[in-house]
Symmetry: C2
Subunit: 471 residues, 2 copies
């Protein structure tokens, strides 16, 4: 167990005090240049040593070294974006210099055929011989929101990614900093990591590291295949006792398994083995790309529901019915209000007494709709028979954003149970702005009612799993 | 059959030459005022007669009449937004005046209890006695993109809704002009109609009308319950032989069926009866709110695929695998390229030869990535073994919108088979703008790969149904 814990110590990857960069330093277009620009953009404050035999002087204010050995100070990490034939030599030099962690962004290794596989095997040999650790090759690597350390060399137009509790891990560059409008959506990120071809560091190492990472409150993992089933299960279990582990596993169909084999140079695992293993350790399976990005935030800033009884508050009955269907299939029960709550609701408006709650009729005739809405939401969520709620809010036009956000500022003082908000409306600017403002206040927002309800279902499922583990 | 055809003649509802408006004319806030403002906003050019016994002079440039009978000219339609006790009298007067179609927006009829039910029954009696037709009550009514006629009295910040082929029909106000960012998303609409409590006009009438409507290329219907199962099936069949009918039917779970009963004052139908009926006539069932809004556009401007073989083109292999899973579960087959196509692709880049196509490696090293991407997409779609394609495009930053749109301008000249485009990226402004520009060029865009692939699956399913009908 001790050696495995050590194997999974990825601190030098995520929190290096100094980093060497290997890759083209051509201004604006070189990938070495790009990664330095990105580190500066996200505020990485460690030391940066560009290394290039063909370049001299400075890049972005950093002195360029012709070899890593010329750097007098110790170096924790390296980022390598050079052609495959040059990579083993660079890693060898890094290992000799005492670099602990190397992220190899370069493509065209095992995934590209026999020649690439040969170079990748050389990397594996160096790891075994020297103890240097490698993430990749064929990866955009990692991002740490806490210190701004990033290994992605491509243009990232996002100025800032919000620090928060979600770790997104993947086996594909799509699932990285450049794959989603993280800034515009105010998605709260702790770490991101694409493990690429995993010639060394694999999903088990990553899970072990994230299990212990205090910044990470939930782990979302896109996983096509586990390198070592046993270690993966052990690591998953270590995560689940501390925080939720949500797994998006494509490759369910035979055709997809073939596609996995072709692009990762490895076989997809057996579907049933995965499924039962994932279930057994209490990880929760997600089915879609949409869910992968959207479901985790329910855990990022809300407490777990204490049970599975949901209240659904919408602005028309028709949509409430859709929500009920999703709730039931997500394992939630439709809460029944206590008589005292039903009475209070009835006093506000006769047809408000039962769950799901259709706020439409009262809001359309009320002189002070925001006060009524606030009161009804608070009554529903403070009912002892209710564990969580999906609340739909209307972002019909720009001027409605401020009063709705103010209403939720009040509600945050009155409610401690988890809520998922479904934003809908006729203007993207209003919907987007409302989402941003509510997210930064710690309220998870969704553009599809189904996702909001499903997220609460996943939260209730994890709460049940946790309760089972603690018994 | 003849009488049924007549029953379903909703021309006076959707294409009235003149309309009387009953409802508060208070400037800015009255709902009668609101509906006139909305008609002007969307360019309705028919005659408008505001009717109010308590108001004189003009409203928004239209002379106000104290009774509908004071209008000398004939009136085709009426919009009624007054308290329930006043509505039967108004409808009676309209019938006497010769008005053919009345949309009753007012709430608090059968859905609100016994007293409302009494008023609703009076409306039914008037319909039977006089032959006037009614949509509603308890509805936002209808919208016709072709002439700008609209009965929704609430604020609509969208200036324009794009004319196109999708008819959205519902039993809920959520599914109306104010429920989605139709303008920002450039969604192509022919008609929208919420049938509300359907004291008269029901889903069967609506389907019969839309089956014959030349503007409508696809009908998307949110339906909680059919008033008359037999007529509904007949009408659905009339649609399906002419155009696809997609049905979102909530209320699958027992809990949801209860919720339907409570908000519509009618029972949800038996789940299995619906399912087999829908299948039998060749209507296609949708499962989510997201699919309801997004899937139909695949039919709005693209031809039907001639088979179910899909090519999937993405920018990383990881996402291609996700697409394969969705394709298989949506009834699509993963196309195998002809040897000639594979050869040509191989000449562009050795690893491009098979489907799914991972464009990432070649684009990251190409000097002219847009030309390469265009060539690969054209080769894949023009392969005789390929019937349709899901293509992922990267809207990473604002400057990439123009060259991508230009590439698709070229591709439109080279390709006739249907495509669904998945837009992803790190900046909402770029994603939204790219979507708008491509949609207005007749290319359906999606923000989730799953939806893009599912839409093609639905298109292939309908193509198969159509082929079966024509045999």
């Amino acid at each position: 167990m001790k050696s495995q814990q050590n194997r999974s110590d990825l601190k030098s990857f995520f929190e290096p005090k100094s980093v060497a960069v290997f890759g083209s330093l051509r201004e604006g277009v070189g990938l070495g240049y790009g990664v330095i620009r990105n580190m500066l953009q996200f505020g990485y404050s460690g030391k940066i040593y560009p290394v290039s035999p063909s370049y001299s002087g400075e890049v972005l204010g950093f002195r360029v070294y012709s070899a890593v050995n010329d750097v007098a100070e110790p170096i924790d990490a390296a980022i390598v974006i050079t052609p495959p034939p040059t990579v083993p030599g660079i890693i060898e030099q890094c290992a000799r210099k005492g670099v602990k962690a190397a992220v190899i962004v370069s493509e065209n290794f095992a995934e590209a055929g026999a020649e690439g596989a040969k170079f990748q095997q050389q990397l594996v040999d160096i790891v075994h011989r020297t103890g240097i650790r490698i993430i990749g090759p064929n990866t955009v690597g990692l991002f740490n929101a806490a210190n701004g350390f990033i290994t992605n060399p491509y243009l990232i137009v996002q100025k800032k990614i919000r620090k928060g509790g979600i770790a997104y891990c993947s086996q594909s560059g799509y699932v990285g900093t450049a794959a989603q409008p993280l800034e515009d959506r105010a998605i709260p990120v702790s770490k991101m990591c694409d493990i690429g071809n995993k010639c060394d560091v694999d999903e088990a190492d990553l899970l072990n590291y994230l299990a212990d990472d205090p910044e990470t409150k939930v782990v979302a993992m896109h996983l096509e295949n586990a390198k070592d089933g046993r270690r993966f299960i052990d690591a998953a279990r270590r995560v689940v006792v501390r925080k939720p582990l949500l797994i998006l596993r494509p490759g369910r169909s035979e055709e997809a398994a073939r596609a996995v084999a072709s692009h990762t140079a490895s076989l997809a695992g057996n579907e049933q083995v995965y499924d039962s293993a994932v279930k057994q350790v209490g990880a929760i399976r997600l089915d879609t790309w949409l869910d992968y990005w959207e479901v985790p935030k329910i855990f990022a800033y809300q407490r777990l529901p204490e049970g599975n009884r949901i209240a659904i508050l919408t602005l028309t009955g028709g949509v409430a019915v859709l929500g009920v269907d999703v709730a039931v299939s997500a394992g939630l029960a439709i809460a029944r209000f206590l008589p005292a709550t039903a009475d209070k609701l009835k006093r506000i408006y006769p047809r408000l007494s039962s769950n799901p709650v259709d706020l439409g009729p009262i809001l359309s005739v009320s002189d002070n709709p925001f006060a009524v809405e606030e009161e009804v939401i608070a009554l529903a969520l403070n009912d002892a028979n209710v564990d969580c709620a999906a609340v739909s809010i209307y972002a019909g036009f720009d001027d409605i954003v401020a009063p709705i956000v103010e209403m939720f500022d009040h509600l945050k003082e009155r409610i401690t149970k988890p809520m998922a908000l479904w934003i809908y409306g006729m203007k993207l600017s209003a919907m987007d702005e409302m989402s941003r403002q509510l997210e930064t206040r710690g309220l998870p927002t969704y553009f599809y009612l189904e996702t909001a309800v499903k997220a609460l279902g996943v939260a209730a499922a994890y709460a049940r799993i946790r309760a089972g583990l603690e018994e």
